[in-house]
């Protein structure tokens, strides 16, 4: 199962650390995570379901560029990091 990690700065707001998720794409992984953590959705994604302007998402060490459809494929061993971008604070 892919592993989803959140920046410590989100932990302050949401009490989130890391969690195992299901899904073959980043969108599916987020949907899985936010089903049980609905409040977290609005911290990571905007109203339209796109990655927030000042949030950065990495999958297996690579920055995700498709911030709209979140189509980045995942493997069973994928590791996702939701970080804050170095701007906007």
């Amino acid at each position: 199962m892919p592993k989803l990690n959140f920046t410590p700065n989100l932990e302050r707001h949401l009490g989130l650390g890391s969690m195992q998720v299901e899904g073959s794409t980043l969108r599916e992984a987020f949907d899985y995570a936010f089903r049980s953590l609905e409040r977290a959705r609005s911290y990571v994604l905007d109203d339209q379901g796109h990655v927030r302007h000042h949030v950065a998402v990495f999958v297996d060490g690579e920055l995700v560029h498709d911030r709209v459809f979140l189509s980045r494929p995942l493997s069973e061993a994928s590791e996702i990091w939701v970080m804050q971008a170095l701007s906007g604070g």
Partner: protein, 384 residues
């Protein structure tokens, strides 16, 4: 059972509570230290306190307190609906696509005594939202958002247009008057079912002369009404000071010295001829005139203005007072305002003189009075 007069101060880095402790105003508490708060609402109907947050990375949020600010719980932020496929919505100034996404909750108001759980939220990029459950859920008011005129609104100061003033008529909760930068003055008389564009008589110096009087491009920085006579509405506009005696349908320009430029206005709750402003030089020089901070008060419907300076810095002051950072209490005698330089002042004599409460707060976005009924003081009394 007594009552405590409280001043809530939303700043760039925290929400502060100010109370009179042993006869002296002082800061007694801070919440959300380090966080950016553009707005707050202390709801006099039920005592609930709403803190509006603007997280740089994680978006706009609302937190609600049921115990006067000791603890908060996050409620839902307003959410824009999905943008229709192929729907063209282009910013008229920037030529870029308008994203249907919440950028900022810029104003938050209680929906009237006979609508006990109703709240109104004004947002950037220009949506008005209504909640009928104390902020647990929100709905975009489509009758305004879908108006073709909305697509001509543009940002003033902010990149996108926003609703900063929501005046609820104390006689009729379904009557609202909105102030929008830059989208003029809008009215609904049916709780948001329909809207009309008002604000005749305002004029703008930032567009070519033939467009100056277009009500849909006006930049009223802040609107305020007299609660005893809501037909009287004051506007601190980007291009001057205006006053209406017909509930915002039409405005007459007033001329204040040393300047009619500013952001904030407070209307006397009982006297329709009295209001307060905090002037700055002009739009491209946003500092007090001559470095001397003052509050301008009119007591004769704007025929003349008096400069109030007692207790305020007389030179080398660079305080700008944002549009939500000046407030008057229900009696019309307590006045409070805060500045971009983190100075906070309170007047106990209707603006005749001011006492500095702090000189080192973060930049101040919003100042609001509330009256809290208590059995005994709720905050630790600071030893003097």
């Amino acid at each position: 059972m007594g009552s405590i007069e409280r001043v809530h101060v939303a700043t760039r880095k925290g929400l502060f509570t100010v109370e009179r402790v042993r006869g002296k105003w002082d800061i007694v508490d801070v919440a959300f230290e380090g966080d950016n708060l553009p707005m707050l609402l202390a709801d006099s109907r039920d005592g609930l306190l709403y803190a509006v947050l603007a997280h740089g990375h994680f978006g706009a949020k609302i937190q609600r307190s049921e115990d006067g600010g000791r603890t908060f719980r996050e409620v839902a932020p307003p959410q824009y609906p999905p943008k229709p496929e192929g729907g063209e919505d282009v910013d008229p100034v920037r030529g870029t696509d308008v994203k249907w996404s919440l950028e900022l909750v810029w104003s938050l108001e209680a929906g009237g005594a006979d609508r006990p759980k109703r709240l109104w939220a004004g947002t950037i990029p220009g949506g008005l939202f209504r909640s009928d459950d104390c902020g647990e859920s929100w709905e975009l008011v489509r009758s305004l958002w879908d108006r073709p005129e909305r697509r001509k609104w543009f940002g003033g100061g902010m990149d996108r247009p926003g609703i900063h003033s929501i005046l609820v008529d104390p006689r009729a909760s379904d009557h609202l008057l909105l102030g929008i930068s830059c989208g003029g003055v809008w009215r609904t008389r049916d709780g948001g079912e329909s809207f009309t564009l008002e604000g005749k008589g305002m004029h703008a110096a930032y567009v070519p002369p033939d467009q100056s009087a277009d009500p849909n491009i006006q930049d009223p920085h802040r609107l305020a009404l007299c609660r005893a006579n809501p037909q009287v509405v004051w506007a601190q506009h980007h291009s001057g000071i205006f006053r209406s005696e017909d509930g915002g349908a039409s405005f007459v320009e007033l001329h204040a010295s040393p300047s009619s430029f500013g952001f904030a206005v407070a209307a006397h709750p009982h006297d329709p001829e009295t209001a307060w402003f905090v002037p700055a030089v002009k739009d491209d020089c946003r500092i007090p005139v001559g470095g001397r901070l003052m509050v301008l008060q009119t007591r004769n419907a704007g025929r003349s203005f008096e400069a109030k300076t007692r207790g305020l810095p007389e030179r080398y002051a660079y305080d700008l007072v944002f549009r939500h950072a000046l407030d008057v209490d229900d009696s019309g005698t307590l006045l409070a305002f805060g500045s971009t330089t983190g100075n906070l002042w309170i007047s106990e004599d209707g603006g005749e003189s001011f006492e500095a409460i702090s000189h080192h707060l973060p930049p101040i976005h919003c100042v609001r009075f509330s009256t809290v009924r208590v059995k005994s003081p709720t905050w630790p009394v600071v030893a003097s």
